[in-house]
Symmetry: none
Subunit: 203 residues, 4 copies
């Protein structure tokens, strides 16, 4: 009768415990390599409990994506709307997305490793939100190109794919016990990006 939602976990809600366990396991062993059984064991809940809160295993993945995207998009919009000079704004956006990706490395790993496993319908929804993010950054780059600040021989599209490609692979090599903090990596990445936009090397 006294059995509350915190009966065998850390006190968090069933929903949160499940999401946390799923994120860790998906990052470690991949989405398809993790069974629902393992998730409920790690979360200290039952299968019935999990399915009470989530429609399917896919739904878990979708939820992880949505959470991360929402946070990153919101932070980016805030910076993009600030009155910093354009290069500094782009610089700040890159530092921020790198730092938050590293702060939530498990989510980031899952995001870029497993998105293709979702059913077409859900993947379309996630991609739409993602595209929105990319397009906002592309607009900033195009603003800079029109203002004569950035090189124009490379399409803004390619620039964005190039730089976000690098950011999406962070989870493949960054380790928390390495020499550089997320902020530091973010600054290096942002410096490289802006130099590439300002420079004019061409063959």
């Amino acid at each position: 009768m006294t059995g509350t939602t915190a009966e065998s976990g850390t006190g968090a809600t069933v929903r949160d415990r499940v999401l946390r366990a799923a994120t860790t396991l998906f990052a470690q062993k991949g989405f398809e390599g993790t069974s629902v059984r393992e998730i409920v064991l790690a979360a200290g809940v039952t299968k019935g409990g999990l399915y009470h809160y989530f429609d399917s295993k896919d739904d878990l993945l979708h939820e992880i994506y949505t959470r991360m995207l929402r946070v990153q998009t919101q932070r980016m919009e805030t910076i993009a709307a600030s009155d910093l000079p354009l290069p500094q704004r782009i610089h700040a956006i890159v530092v921020d997305v790198v730092a938050t990706s590293i702060a939530h490395l498990d989510e980031a790993v899952v995001f870029f490793q497993s998105m293709h496993l979702l059913p077409e319908q859900k993947v379309a929804q996630v991609r739409a939100e993602r595209r929105q993010y990319h397009e906002r950054v592309r607009e900033l780059v195009e603003d800079g190109q029109r203002a004569g600040l950035f090189r124009t021989d490379v399409p803004a599209d390619i620039v964005v794919q190039y730089h976000f490609g690098a950011i999406h692979r962070l989870g493949q090599w960054y380790h928390h016990d390495g020499p550089l903090s997320g902020e530091q990596v973010g600054h290096h990445f942002a410096n490289l990006m802006l130099a590439s936009l300002l420079g004019d090397f061409s063959l």
Copy 2:
């Protein structure tokens, strides 16, 4: 009379038909989303035939990786050993790896999407070869830094991770029916990379 070797395939050997079918399917539906049954159906062979040539489904993935790595490493070594000026050598390497990645886009997609699904032992072997590739390029960057050609405020390691990150994500957005050829994308990427190395933007 009844069953020739090419009854349902393209006339290529069983081994090749299997590899080709597996590459296509893995790229389309992911490694874990593709069943052995689907591979043998697409290849026009029997399960027993597949397992005569490959030890496991993992083995197929490993073979796809190894083939691609071998080709790319060899081409890179040739360019790296040429007597072009250093920036041009790096430029040529990037153009080449982008162009070959796009020419074999399915393999590239599979490579960076599914490597983590291999057992530890095999993944270590692939990673060792991959690292060799990365380290060779890092040496070139360090050569340029020591020669005073490239900026030194960003570690060569970070530069390599940054630029290869971008290259590894090619399969996520490039489509053969888009406006740019592999060569063209390669040139854009190489120009961005060299500008970022030569520039000195820093915040």
Copy 3:
């Protein structure tokens, strides 16, 4: 309305139906000659149901062994601890183990025919319990030797291996429709055993 728990079985629990079917089939066709598919068909359950209760096909075998051993060991201990004269105690033990082996002939057949197919770890556990049984009987024989009741020119070890060897082969020749009951065979075996211990024929 549609599917009750006893729709195709005898009304016993899934677990029991599976064990019963497995025992019969293993005895008839051997462990390796019986497929899981055959077991679930005979038991009227699904594969998933079987694997809900048992970890593996091996686990079924192990369970059959354990059940039988537990029963026989317990009965033997009771008789061994009684205050009958030593020869009568040994006699009673042999009658009992023969009679119960015949009463559960399928289990006995499976036990001695398939134990070697279990993985090392599980076989060790079963052997440990079995050895305990054998050693208890060996102690009784040694008691009799020390008391001057039994011949001492044959090691107690050999005596036990000899007589239990005979008992372990019961399943190879005994048929329920033969002329002798389990009790009767037990008496014959026990009489032979005691005569061999009391006698002194030697060449």
Copy 4:
């Protein structure tokens, strides 16, 4: 052209190398636990080579049985036909069957562990030969009973099943590095058997 039958083995014929490898493997891992692939690897022959000499995997098992049976039956007949006194003749037969079973322990293990896996037809043939052996010994026991040498309260059938049961289990516990030789075990078994026949303990 010079490729003889001893190309990769110990110089024995292909046929013998196969039989020897099969016997060892069947004894170690069971008949069903040993694959044809393992046999050809251990024997240093090819699958085609094996199937050139043997019709099937079953055929190998059958051949192992037949060889052993033939040898033991022949030796027994020789002793049975000798003019030793009856008890000594039985004693010698038991010593001999134990000693030869131990000398060919692998064959003996395979024989009693895997016979039930043969198809009905072949198993019938082996059993017929085996029964012949048993019946010959039963006749000797009955001779002794009729002559008033042996107890008659236990049927000769039971006596034979009892004692051969013990012998058939030799492979389950005897180890070549133990304290007793095959001859010694044979003498102990024979002494126990004759004491049980001569004695009259009965409850």
